[in-house]
Amino acid sequence: MQQHEDPKAAKQIEFVTLVAGGQSFCIEITQIREIRRWTPVTLLPHSPPYVLGVINLRGAVIPILDLAAKLGFQAIEPTERHVIIIISVEERIVGLLVESVSEILGISSDMVRETPRTEEDESTRAIDGIIPTGDDMIKILSLEALLPAKLATAA
């Protein structure tokens, strides 16, 4: 028996939760390619402050963004314990520097709440919904909203 796709039917979704700028966020697991330890980057000239530089990922040149800075928080001072999440969005591969990665969260899609309307800023613009968890909530990042088509021109 094949089940008919009902858009309203609850689906199981998995998210990877992370911390950036002291707040909890999550990214859908299907958009994540891999998670790596911080390695020094090659700086890019004339880049916006949140672009840290580029790294060599098995022969490909991958730009690395500071997620906290991109969201408008204090920029991260990268050290060995920081983590880079390699994501793939619209055929582009980009690395996001975050403070830490916590866990994989499996939830049913009907648990996702719409983002309450608040004052719009760098960080709320990139939020695609929230997931309540016990005593806190986790914000879902929309990578499409976070990453404009061309990083260089977004400066």
Partner: protein, 698 residues
């Protein structure tokens, strides 16, 4: 194979044939032709006609037919190849190419273009010639069913080694003949070696003799063999009753087992391939003219690209290993060093080999230009002779493709603006026919393409006026000749006073420059009034790998393309002079050259005043004649694999790409032209600033 795939193959074939055609016509024009040239030209047209007939491409068939008829007369020596005829033949060749293009795109033929040429071709034929031949053509397309006059044709068909090697099967040929009418097939084994030891596994020893009955001409038979007639010995004769059995006795009970003789084709695939390397293949085609089509391999470009990527990784891996070994601090005598050098050499050889797969000769491109030049000369009423040199120079496939438009434009420009009208040329003591030379050559890692005309040279006064009118420069600016010449490349510049048919279509030289820059190339002009203008385009040999100088810029490792570096200088205090608030000039051999602090330009760190502890790279760019890039240190000079940043990040001013170094780190590749160009792209300011610098220096 689907229909469209067959059609595609036909068009690919046509391209080759058109090249051969154009080659032949060019030879005829230059008087280098012999009877084989004319034959080759005829065959090209005939093959196109034949295949086009199979696809019912009527326009193409009927034009090719008239063309072929004229060529046939030439071949038979009935028409002499004077200039008038050659011109028409070349026009006809152009039209044929047009028709092939139109057929490929599914467009109708442009009658306005075609008809005059058809008329001209017809004028070379007597009335009867055309009518008579027309009949043959009709017969070809109508089929052979109800024609009463028939004859028997005897086909002697001996496939050569290449016939089998290219996967053809005599059985299919014979089957095709049987479709035409009743056939008697005999096999002649007279050439089989007497001694089995002499037997070459891949040689064709057998000759088939096929009598095809009820044919009204041999055309259909020839069509069967059309695509293999270079690969076999073929002899088609009209058969009269008596001699049919004359050859039958030769059927051979010779050195090879009889069962083998009866097989329709030796089964090539079952024979071990390694069998013999020193096979002698001369006897098979002894009576054929030497020109056999170059054997080529059609490969999906994607496969080649994958290979190129893998080789890129190999080169990176090689530099990783070199670096590791250096770090290991082995004694210099260690054998590993020698092995490593071998490895480097091999990696480079593989890389060059792989790049060579993508390389193509510029010949087809140049041939297109011959045609552009003819058309341009006709349209302007000027007499121009385009001479090409270095046709065999090979460049990357992409370069060949992307150069077509810029070259077309430049050739048209050269004829429209450069070369004078015949009467003007005569009055200045030049021959009435202008000469345009299109040359390609390879110079130390670069390809140089030059377009040289012997025309009037650039009209600098006029160029300046236009630039002032268009607001590109201010009226009171004093420009050097070179600066004026470079105005041609400014966006929105077009010298033609009125829009002519040829150039002046709104695309200027700036488009040419953009296209060439996009290929990583440079373009330069030099012009002598009254003697002509030379445009030279310098292109990198390959797009994927380049030789780079590894440098240190404010602690960052970067790469500068060797091709743009003229020399490296460690300046002494006496070589440097200050100018303006921040700038410095380098004095070199009496000239003053502006210094650009690379670290500052790239925003790595603020400008530093001291230059004496730095290394200066003297570079040559298009916009500024020369300038010196100040860098902190030079590490090494090596081959690097270019990785584009466009996809993942976007364009960065002053950076053309990135590469991965031996330690796995990424180094950015500097684009010297972009660095040298002033931060504001305004040409006015740029030239003004340049001028001030030059002025202050003197």
């Amino acid at each position: 194979m689907t229909d469209s795939a067959i059609l595609d193959a036909f068009f690919e074939e046509c391209e080759d044939l058109l090249v051969a055609l154009s080659d032949g016509l060019e030879d005829m024009r230059e008087g280098k032709a012999d009877s084989e040239t004319v034959n080759a030209v005829f065959r090209s047209v005939h093959s196109i006609k034949g295949a086009a007939g199979a696809f019912s491409l009527e326009d193409l068939v009927s034009f090719a037919h008239i063309f072929e008829t004229v060529l046939d007369e030439v071949r038979a020596g009935k028409l002499s190849t004077d200039d008038a005829l050659l011109r028409v033949l070349q026009r006809a060749g152009d039209i044929l190419a047009d028709l092939v293009d139109a057929a490929r795109d599914g467009l109708p033929a442009d009658a306005e273009q075609v008809d005059p040429v058809v008329k001209e071709l017809q004028s070379f034929l007597g009335e009867d010639g055309l009518v008579e031949e027309e009949f043959v053509f009709e017969a070809l397309t109508l089929g052979f069913d109800d024609t009463p006059i028939t004859a028997t044709y005897q086909v002697q068909f001996r496939p050569g080694r290449e016939f089998y090697a290219t996967g053809n099967d005599p059985a299919l040929m014979i089957a095709a003949l049987q479709d035409l009418g009743p056939c008697t097939v005999r096999i002649l084994g007279g050439d089989l070696p007497q001694d089995f030891a002499d037997f070459q596994w891949d040689e064709g020893y057998l000759t088939w003799q096929i009598d095809v009955m009820d044919q009204q001409s041999d055309l259909a038979i020839r069509e069967v063999f059309q695509f293999v007639d270079d690969l076999c010995d073929l002899n088609i004769t009209e058969q009269f009753d008596d001699e049919t059995d004359a050859l039958a006795q030769e059927i051979a009970p010779l050195g090879v087992p009889a069962s083998n003789t009866e097989q329709p084709a030796p089964d090539v695939t079952q024979v071990p391939v390694a069998a013999s390397a020193d096979v002698d293949d001369t006897p098979v085609k002894a009576d054929k003219p030497a020109k056999r089509p170059a054997s080529t391999l059609r490969v999906d470009p994607e496969r080649v690209d994958r290979l190129i990527n893998a080789v890129g990784e190999l080169i990176i891996n090689q530099s990783v290993i070199s670096q590791r070994i250096d770090e290991a601090g082995l004694p210099n005598s260690a054998e590993l060093h020698g092995d490593l050098d071998d490895y480097k050499l091999l990696a480079r050889e593989i890389q060059e080999g792989v790049m060579a797969i993508r390389a193509q000769p510029v010949k087809p491109l140049f041939q297109r230009m011959l045609r552009i030049a003819r058309e341009a000369a006709d349209a302007t009423g000027k007499e121009v002779n385009l001479v090409t040199e270095g046709d065999a120079t090979e460049v990357d496939k992409i370069v060949v493709e992307r150069l077509a438009d810029p070259l077309t434009h430049m050739i048209r420009n050269a004829i429209d603006h450069g070369i004078e009208k015949p009467q003007d040329r005569i009055s200045t003591g030049k021959p009435a026919t202008g000469t345009l030379r299109l040359t390609a050559s390879q110079r130390s890692g670069s390809i140089v393409i030059e377009i040289i005309d012997d025309g009037a040279g650039l009209n600098r006064k006029r160029i300046k006026e236009i630039a002032i009118n268009k607001g590109l420069i201010s009226a009171d600016m004093q420009l050097t000749e070179q600066e004026i010449d470079h105005l041609l490349f400014a966006p929105g510049f077009s010298t033609a006073a009125e829009v002519t048919n040829l150039s002046g279509r709104g695309v200027g030289m700036d488009v040419v420059k953009t296209a060439i820059t996009a290929l990583g190339g440079r373009i330069a002009i030099s012009s002598i009034t009254g003697q002509g203008t030379t445009f030279s385009i310098t292109l990198p040999l390959t797009l994927a790998v380049m030789d780079g100088m590894i440098i240190n810029v404010g602690g960052q490792t970067m790469v500068v393309p060797i091709s743009s570096i003229l020399e490296t200088i460690r300046p002494t205090k006496a070589d440097l002079s200050r100018i303006g608030l921040h700038s410095q000039l380098l004095r070199i051999r009496g000239d003053y050259v502006p210094i650009i602090d690379l670290a500052e330009r790239l925003g790595v760190r603020p400008s530093s005043e001291t230059m004496t502890d730095r290394v200066l790279l003297l570079i040559q760019t298009e916009s500024v004649t020369q300038c010196a890039l100040a860098v902190d240190d030079i590490f090494d000079q090596r081959q690097v694999v270019v990785k584009s940043m466009q996809g993942s990040y976007g364009e960065i001013a002053g950076i053309s790409g990135a590469t991965i170094l031996g330690d796995g780190k990424i180094a950015l590749i500097i684009d010297p032209d972009a660095i040298a160009a002033a931060p504001t792209t305004e040409l006015k300011l740029q030239i003004q600033a340049q001028r001030e610098v030059a002025h202050a220096a003197t």
